[in-house]
Amino acid sequence: MKTVISSFALLLAGTSAFAAGASKTDVLTNYSNIAEAKYADSLATAKTLQAAVVALVEEPSAEKLEAAKKAWLAARVPYQQTEVFRFGNAIVDDWEGKVNAWPLDEGLIDYVDTSYGGATDENAAAVLNVIANPSFTLGTETIDAASITPGLLEETLQEADGVEANVATGYHAIEFLLWGQDLNGHEAGAGNRPWTDYAQDTTCTGANCDRRAAYLTAATELLVSDLEWITAQWAEGGQARADVLADEAAGIVAMLTGMGSLSYGEQAGERMRLGLMLNDPEEEHDCFSDNTHNSHYYDGLGVQNVYLGSYTRVDGTVISGASLSDLVAAGNTDLDVEMKTKLSTTMKALGAIKTAAEAGFAYDQMLEAGNEAGEALVMGGVNGLVDQTKTIERIVAALDVNTIEFEGSDSLDNPSAVFN
């Protein structure tokens, strides 16, 4: 769902906290450079994933499936760090549903366990199973899905019937096709799809292995082309970069809006605290692969590196330059120190979740009712994120900003409520 985004705009005149110090244009240029590098890294790692998928489909084996999973996990590292660009940059927010929509009713795509249930009040297509059905009805329309193509996924299946849980494309659709459902409940362990789901002979399991392979191929192809598009938007001459640089005040606001909205409503709220309060192992952001601890960690890292103006690329090179931190420090050193301290506190808390998960305490287990150690770990991250949002608000206030942007009614037809 798209949302705005409480937003702010700056007063350029008057005694701003930014009167002296780093140039706003430099800060925004560095921000755009970092965005470009993060999306370029996402694209490069997605291409590696695509090569692994091609290898799996051509000659399926347990090793090839494992290699594809490994490539998917690696591809998430740079991508999650881009989420901080979503809120605040309309061009990113309008696009990102194609690649990272979640949660999804995976029964739309492929077979699911009987415990998954059937069609729901919210989604009549929850168990459509496109892979098993070359032709089906969607609403009142008969769909020819004999050939599974990027076009079918993108134009017909994605958000089919106007339901957002019908996620047909992007990282999480691919994740489901590689891992399958996680049926371990609150126990450790990810989805366990057998590699024979891709076997193109009589050893095929789960039926329709050819169509499953076609789906995975098409979804990966789309991911690559979608990432190519967004990377170009942040390059020299690209629209996203131009938008950010068009108006310095609005550009700085976009940076802060992205940091605050991701920290608070999205990550602390919907992705972390809600899952804990529902005690539901399916409320994990990367639920099929059990990679949620990394998803949270790299989201947080993205917020931090936008503030500090420094990003370490997947090849180890560093993109660094004028930062929001410089800008804040020029007007108010204490506030800058407060922001930096809170960002590192959050990263420490998210790091604790990550290390515990990597040592065997799965994120699913942390969410279980009455699991106090798990609750303390997750709430550590939530509290850090909530607390850092307060300081982001202080920065907005210190910028001598004034609320001026109003959420248009078009954004209301896709209502968003993280939690009530």
Binding site: M1, K2, T3, V4, S6, S7, A9, L11, L12, A13, G14, A90, D93, D94, T120, D121, E122, G162, V163, A165, D247, A250, S261, L262, Y264, G265, E266, Q267, G269, E270, R273, M277, L278, N279, D280, A369, G370, T389, E393, R394, A397, N402, T403, I404, E405, F406, E407, G408, S409, D410, S411, L412, D413, N414, P415, S416, A417, V418, F419, N420
Partner: protein, 334 residues
């Protein structure tokens, strides 16, 4: 679609500064009375359920409606004690986009889970099974109406009403201490100055209106091609329209209070509220079931626009006049 309206750069008068007396008054005349009422009504609900636990008992249903009304009147006040210990989340888990509430109730009933007999254990269960929306399912959803009178269903009603009162009382008691924090900003405290305390109160006003527009009205509206009447809030007990009206009346009180030093803005706010409340009152569609036909849909859209007009005045006029920025709320994000 994310649509950006024109970016209007407004110059705040240099003299605009936050006024702590507005916050103090909001605490005294709006926040504390709202939670006192919630505390009382949920105590009554718990008592009534001890005697009448049958889903169709008029005494129980009447107490349910009164207590739920008192929650909706306070539902925008999401700050401080309501955000601690999952209290407000457990009282009101909605929207429930993945059907957690019916599923968790079903699990309890199917397994005859003994957790409901131990309040401390019940309080650890999913928020989806512990609040007003879960109770509504038990009292009004035909799939949950029990075949016999007593038994597990009855005990579950009692467990939920006890839990509802426990959380409501927790919020009310929590405010006895939290009001001091909010009344006395200090450099070392949670709130550093009057701007921050006022922003905290201002934020719940704007977030409450956003919730009414986006969720209470926006969810059943869906899109023109896909209206979603089944997504209306509390439609099973036919409270959807009423929630909009109650919530508008509650935020009206807060808006009038916060705009008292700005007579012109206050006048425009009152006019905008009068129009929205009138539209909500006139609507002869308790569950927004008519969003599926064009004329019924139109009326809900007009109401939503009227609510958005209030939001516009608050964001564009009242916020600068008060010298506050909007900040972030839980509705940011997807």
């Amino acid at each position: 679609m994310l649509k950006r309206l024109s970016c209007l750069l407004a110059f705040v008068a240099q003299g605009a500064f936050a006024d702590q007396t507005l916050v103090d008054e909001a605490i005294e005349t709006h926040i504390l009375p709202s939670f006192a009422l919630l505390n009382e009504q949920t105590a009554v609900l718990e008592e009534v359920a001890r005697v009448h636990c049958t889903a169709t008992a008029p005494e129980l249903r009447s107490a349910f409606h009164k207590a739920f009304d008192s929650w909706v009147r306070a539902s925008h006040l999401r700050l401080g004690p309501s955000e601690e210990n999952e209290r407000a989340f457990a009282l009101a888990f909605w929207p429930d986009t993945k059907g957690f509430t019916p599923r968790s109730l079903n699990d309890l009933i199917t397994n005859q889970d003994p957790a409901i007999y131990e309040p401390a254990t019940f309080a650890e269960l999913s928020i989806a099974a512990r609040g007003f929306y879960a109770l509504e399912f038990l009292l009004y959803d035909t799939t949950f109406l029990p075949s016999e009178e007593a038994g597990y269903h009855c005990d579950l009603v009692r467990a939920i009403t006890h839990e509802i009162h426990r959380n409501s009382a927790g919020i009310y008691l929590g405010w006895q201490g939290f009001q001091e924090t909010l009344r006395n900003p200090s450099l070392e405290g949670t709130f550093k100055d009057e701007t921050e305390t006022l922003r905290e109160v201002f934020k719940v006003l704007i977030a409450g209106l956003q919730f009414t527009s986006d969720a209470r009205l926006g969810r059943p509206l869906g899109t023109f091609d896909h209206p979603r009447p089944a997504r209306a809030e509390a439609r099973r007990s036919e409270r959807s329209r009423q929630h909009v009206e109650l919530s508008l009346r509650a935020t009206y009180d807060l808006a009038v209070l916060l705009s008292q030093n700005e007579p012109l803005i206050q006048k425009r706010l009152i006019d905008a509220y009068d129009r929205a409340i009138e539209l909500a009152q006139e609507m002869d569609d308790p569950t927004f079931a008519n969003v599926a036909d064009p004329s019924g849909r139109f009326r809900v859209e007009v109401l939503q626009q009227a609510v958005d007009r209030i939001r516009e005045i608050i964001t564009l006029e009242l916020a600068p006049a008060l010298g506050v920025t909007e900040g972030f709320n839980a509705l940011d994000g997807d």
